[in-house]
């Protein structure tokens, strides 16, 4: 799957988490929704915002701000939950807002620096430089692998 997309044009969903512009391969995105009925899971690691009922399925929501080590925010109208699939399970990523969908050629993506706007580079597979901004391409698998 990855090999194919890497050789051809890649479509990226661009969203914002605090000051960081992140991109996610659109084929990895199951859906984007505005589901704010989040049940908090107290006692769990703090980057776990809680759980939601996604049409009968319990989906864990991860607060990307917390995951990136940035102060979290109250839910607001621009926020969205990006549902991705990881190892047979749907996971929700809470992001500040959805910006755009862009197409990128593989040669436009460079390997990630050690950090992107203060966020450790290990969560990203690469960086896409556009005329006006720097977009960090998310490495979902690495992001969702627990290290603690």
């Amino acid at each position: 799957m990855k090999a194919i997309t890497q050789s051809s044009v890649q479509e990226l969903t661009i969203f914002q988490v605090a000051d960081v512009s992140c991109g996610l391969d659109t084929t990895d995105v199951q859906e984007i929704n505005k589901h704010f009925e989040i049940t908090k899971a107290y006692g769990a690691p703090d980057y776990l915002r809680g759980i939601i009922n996604l049409r009968g399925e319990i989906v864990t929501v991860i607060d990307l701000r917390k995951k990136f080590g940035i102060e979290t925010e109250e839910l607001h109208a621009n926020m969205r939950i990006v549902i991705v699939e990881d190892r047979g399970e749907n996971i929700g990523l809470l992001v500040d807002r959805i910006d755009d969908i862009i197409t990128a050629k593989p040669d436009m993506i460079e390997p990630p620096p050690s950090n992107v706007s203060g966020v450790t580079g290990e969560y990203f597979t690469g960086v896409l430089k556009t005329d006006e901004s720097l977009i960090a391409v998310l490495d979902v698998e690495n992001l969702l692998t627990q290290k603690t």
Binding site: E37, I51, I58, N90
Partner: protein, 611 residues
């Protein structure tokens, strides 16, 4: 019922499931169950048509009828679908015949496997997941439990050892017992091993009873095997079995006598998919507690908080019918901010001290202004039903976690509901306080509390005996004997009392739900009919006041549940009052007592009920 199969007869079924075997992808379903499903599906389609039609014509009476039918069909459908998932434990029991046969041959032992209750059914997910832990336990029994024939002969036992596998129902759960008449587990050996691997110091060991020591084999990294054999003794064993069973919502108990044998008892829920649960509120979140873990609900009125909640060995406990129960606050377990709502519905931060670290004068910590205020409100409303008043009363849910009970303090209680258990994602699987999640009626998700997990999380121990004595002696000094009673109303001014311990549940119903087929009063209740009785049916008392929402006191009688219809609940109280059993004795009434300045008649529930 019991099939005895000597291990000498070879078993044709040689399919051996590997440790993490491929799960079967198809299922055998009884044709009758399938037919039933088909009928229900037809019924559902008809009901849908009816519903659409009635919505179209805005015929509300018809909509109501249709929705009632949806309700009925849904619950029947649920039962039927659950039935398709039920599989007999025999499917796993039978494969042990082969395992025991093969192993005993390899080890030169003579072992007979007895199987009982193979027809007991469990949900297929449970059947699948207990296969591995049970294989481990049976292997243990063969390898470590049963001695070699010559040793058995020396100790005066019959040469052939016996392993007894048994499954049966008990209190809505399934119990699986694995019993062998082998050497048993020697607590001394366990103790030596524990010191050896420095899990405990010798002084700690001395404080443990033999029973506690034997249970230590369930701890991680513990193995008693003298040498590592092909079969067992690799240091990963019972603890894995224990965790796997706990994950299923099951508990494991172990009983062993040196030279006599070992009994392992596994308690399992019938099904994991849909279970009855109690919905509680803590902070802004709702949680569910599986009904199987529920023992009782206790509401401590504000004025009794001081006297009933005490501190022993740095932990909070509550006195409940001469027993001491450890208490946990759900907020502390989960690390939630503590908030409470005042009468106007505003949310405040709760300033009460944590009940665990109350210092010497800490009992007063409960006496914050709000409580005093609530206490006053409470007194004013004494004469009325007090269920809705006094927001600062302490709601305690007494739960059972295997071998111990404890109390969880929550902010408030909602309803009991059938909940559909959904698994949690990988990220939350590490959170030991949760057993899963569910979706409530309003579509919002709620977490299911893992009652056993919480004990481990909080390293809760049952209150030590000496501490128990300490409090009991304190009680004796005060020289009082109390009884817990539920005070109810029937005729407008007549009060009755029922011993709290006899009551299973209290349900608020609507008078239109009452039915009386064949002159016998009953109500639809949890998918069946609950027989109802009135006090005035037997005793010469005033007739029941006609109220819109009467209450049903549900209790057990001759092994079935029956209900007593009353018009209102007044209070649950602890009384020290004397009972006068002469002045007003009659069938159904044991006597009278002065309770809350009212002459209250004590009901004899069992004579009031006649089938």
């Amino acid at each position: 019922m019991s099939t005895q199969q000597s291990i000498a007869t070879p078993e044709s079924d040689s399919k051996k499931h590997p440790a993490s075997g491929v799960k079967p992808s198809s299922l055998r379903v009884n044709i009758a169950v399938l037919d039933e499903l088909m009928t229900l599906a037809g019924e559902l389609v008809l009901t849908r048509n009816q519903l659409m039609q009635s919505i179209g014509s805005k015929d509300y009476a018809m909509i109501e009828r249709a929705s009632q039918r949806v309700d009925l069909v849904t619950s029947e459908l649920q039962t039927s679908i659950m039935n398709t998932r039920m599989q007999p434990v025999g499917t796993i029991f039978n494969k042990f015949k082969r395992i025991v046969h093969d192993m005993s041959k390899d080890l030169g032992k003579d072992i007979e496997l007895e199987i009982e209750g193979e027809e007991v059914e469990l949900d297929k997910t449970i059947i699948e997941s207990i296969s591995d832990p049970m294989t481990h336990l049976v292997r243990n029994s063969v390898d470590h439990g049963i001695e070699a024939p010559d040793i058995r002969e020396q100790t005066g036992k019959p040469q052939h050892g016996r392993i007894h596998l048994m499954a049966y129902h008990e209190a809505g759960q399934v119990i699986i017992e694995i019993k062998d008449d082998g050497a048993g587990i020697d607590p001394k050996k366990v103790a030596a091993k524990l010191v050896d691997i420095s899990m405990f110091t010798e002084s700690e060991i001395k404080e443990m009873t033999d029973g506690e020591l034997v249970k230590m084999i369930l701890k991680p990294g513990f193995s008693l095997a003298k040498e590592v054999t092909d079969i067992s003794g690799r240091g990963v064993g019972m603890d894995v079995v224990n965790t796997n069973l706990t994950k299923l919502g099951g508990t494991i108990d172990l009983d062993s006598t040196v030279g006599v044998g070992t009994t392992i008892r596994i308690k399992l829920p019938l099904t994991l998919a849909i279970i009855p649960g109690l919905i509680v509120v803590a902070g802004e979140e709702r949680f569910t507690i599986p009904q199987v873990n529920l023992v009782e609900l206790v509401r401590v009125p504000p004025e009794q908080v001081k006297s009933r909640i005490e501190k022993v060995d740095n932990a909070s406990v509550i006195r409940l019918r001469n027993e001491l129960l450890p208490l946990l606050r759900i907020h502390d377990v989960l690390g939630m901010p503590r908030i409470f709502k005042d009468s106007a519905g505003n949310i405040h931060e709760d300033n009460r001290k944590i009940i665990h670290d109350r210092r010497s004068k800490s009992v007063d910590a409960w006496d914050t202004e709000e409580e005093v205020e609530a206490l006053e409100n409470d007194k004013q409303s004494r004469s009325e039903d007090r269920r809705a008043s006094a927001s600062s009363a302490v709601n305690i849910i007494v739960v059972n976690a295997g071998d111990m009970n404890y109390g969880i303090i929550v902010d408030s209680l909602l309803d009991s509901e059938e909940i559909v258990v959904k698994p949690l994602g990988n990220h939350l699987r590490g959170a030991r306080a949760y057993a899963g999640a569910t979706i409530l009626g309003d579509g919002k998700s709620a977490l299911i509390l893992d009652i056993v997990g919480i004990t481990n999380l909080m390293s809760l121990k049952s209150v030590k005996d000496n501490a128990k004595e300490q409090v009991i002696s304190r009680k004796i000094k005060s020289g009082k004997h109390t009884r817990s009673l539920l005070v109810v109303r029937n005729a407008k001014t007549e009060y009755f009392a029922i011993p709290l311990g006899l009551i299973s549940r209290i349900e608020k119903i609507h008078r239109d739900d009452l039915e009386s087929p064949g002159g016998q009063l009953s109500i639809k209740y949890r998918g069946a009919s609950l027989l109802l009785f009135r006090i005035e049916d037997t005793a010469r008392v005033g007739a029941m006041e006609d109220v819109e929402n009467p209450y049903v006191i549900v209790f057990q009688h001759s092994g079935r549940e029956v209900g007593m219809l009353v018009s209102g609940i007044v209070d649950a109280i602890d009384t020290e009052g004397e009972v006068d059993d002469k002045t007003f004795s009659q069938p159904g009434i044991l006597g009278t007592s002065r309770i809350m300045d009212q002459t209250t008649m004590l009901l004899d529930l069992y004579t009031l009920v006649t089938f």
